[in-house]
């Protein structure tokens, strides 16, 4: 009995706090404006007053507007940086300790059983060829890819930009596998600048291009991101040898995941560079020819 008595006030205060949290100050103001406007409109009809009608109309309108335009939840950018950097540092440390020296290769859907996932392969030694799709598929849900003797020859990781790439697909309401490179070149800047407000500008350049809608003969793609919200993370990632020039920071990784699904060929992040003020990030991707 005593226990229940003690718990009761805590539950009530928690519910009260949750209720207050849900109806924040902006909502209170907008509801107040709405009700005041409705009263003014009612009185304007009763007393046939155009002044009251205008006041009522204005109040109802602004009440509705404030309710409609403020449901987005924003968090400070510093929280984003603080959450991501430790996991990138850990990933870098694991790769350094395990001694995986190869370049991170983003794998296209044909290498995976589940087409919706993204994986990156890092070989044990430098200049080792990429295993066959069948070999990768065998070890898809594992960390280490082993050869016939059971010796680890590479590692399969989920890239840091996978979820971000999924968010891109969700926002675009399509899968990158259904797009071609020209489509991607058109859609990504709008997505970055207007839809998700990730960056102020994004340019995608196809180097040595001879694209004929489906058949891609180009082998290098460069991107230039201006004033991205990930610029501080990218700057921090540059200090991590395995992250910056191989797997890439979350934003470069997300673009690589999107490209790999679009092109259908393995991709590596060749190099990245940042401007002196840190505002412009440039990343160069190399398309690997499997033949």
């Amino acid at each position: 009995m005593l226990k229940t008595r003690k718990e009761m006030p805590t539950q009530v205060s928690h519910k009260k706090r949750t209720f207050l949290y849900k109806i924040n100050s902006t909502k209170i103001v907008s509801l107040f404006l709405l009700s005041l406007g409705s009263i003014a409109l009612t009185f304007s009809i009763i007393y046939a007053s155009s002044v009251l009608a205008f006041i009522g109309l204005g109040l109802v309108f602004w009440g509705a507007i404030t309710l409609y335009i403020t449901p987005e939840k924003y968090v400070k950018q510093i929280l984003l940086d603080s959450t991501i950097i430790p996991s990138l540092t850990n990933l870098n440390l694991i790769l350094t300790e395990l001694g995986y020296q190869g370049k991170a290769i983003y794998l296209p859907p044909k290498y995976l059983k589940d087409f919706e996932t993204s994986k990156v392969y890092i070989s044990k030694d430098k200049n080792t060829s990429l295993p066959t799709p069948e070999q990768i598929q065998e070890y898809e849900n594992r960390l280490l890819v082993r050869n016939t003797q059971g010796i680890s020859q590479g590692i399969l990781l989920t890239p840091p930009g996978t979820r971000l790439m999924k968010l891109f697909e969700k926002t675009l309401k399509t899968s990158f596998t259904k797009m071609n490179l020209e489509h991607l070149q058109q859609k990504l800047p709008k997505l970055f600048i207007e839809d998700l407000e990730i960056a102020e500008d994004l340019e995608i350049q196809i180097i040595n291009s001879s694209v004929q809608s489906i058949q891609i003969k180009n082998n290098s793609i460069s991107i230039r991101i201006t004033n991205s919200i990930y610029k501080d993370i990218h700057k921090e990632a540059e200090k991590l040898s395995h992250i910056c020039c191989t797997i890439g920071c979350p934003i470069c990784s997300a673009i690589a995941c999107a490209m790999v699904k679009t092109i259908g060929k393995p991709i590596t992040i060749e190099r990245t560079q940042t401007s002196e003020d840190g505002k412009v990030i440039e990343a160069y991707y190399e398309i690997i020819d499997e033949n």
Binding site: I45, A53, L57, I65, I69, P71, Y74, K76, E194
Partner: protein
């Protein structure tokens, strides 16, 4: 017990509101010093455009009325 504003009054009010909202949505900064009042810029612009379209519809109705009255 009639609503005191005429169709023309509402149309004028719509025009003013649409202009104010459009200007606000264009000049508003996406970065906020204080984050107590948060504004979704895209939604604000959508509202402004909808108001503008409603105003244009009222104008079409008005013009149609003038043409048919001749």
């Amino acid at each position: 017990m009639n609503f005191p504003l005429s169709f023309w009054d509402i149309s004028l009010w719509l025009a003013f509101t649409a202009i104010i909202l459009l200007i606000t949505s264009e000049i508003i900064s996406p970065f906020y010093g204080k984050t107590k009042i948060l504004i979704n810029k895209k939604r604000l612009r959508n509202v402004a455009l909808v108001m503008g379209i409603i105003f244009l519809i009222t104008m079409v109705i008005r013009i149609y009325g003038i043409i048919t009255s001749i």
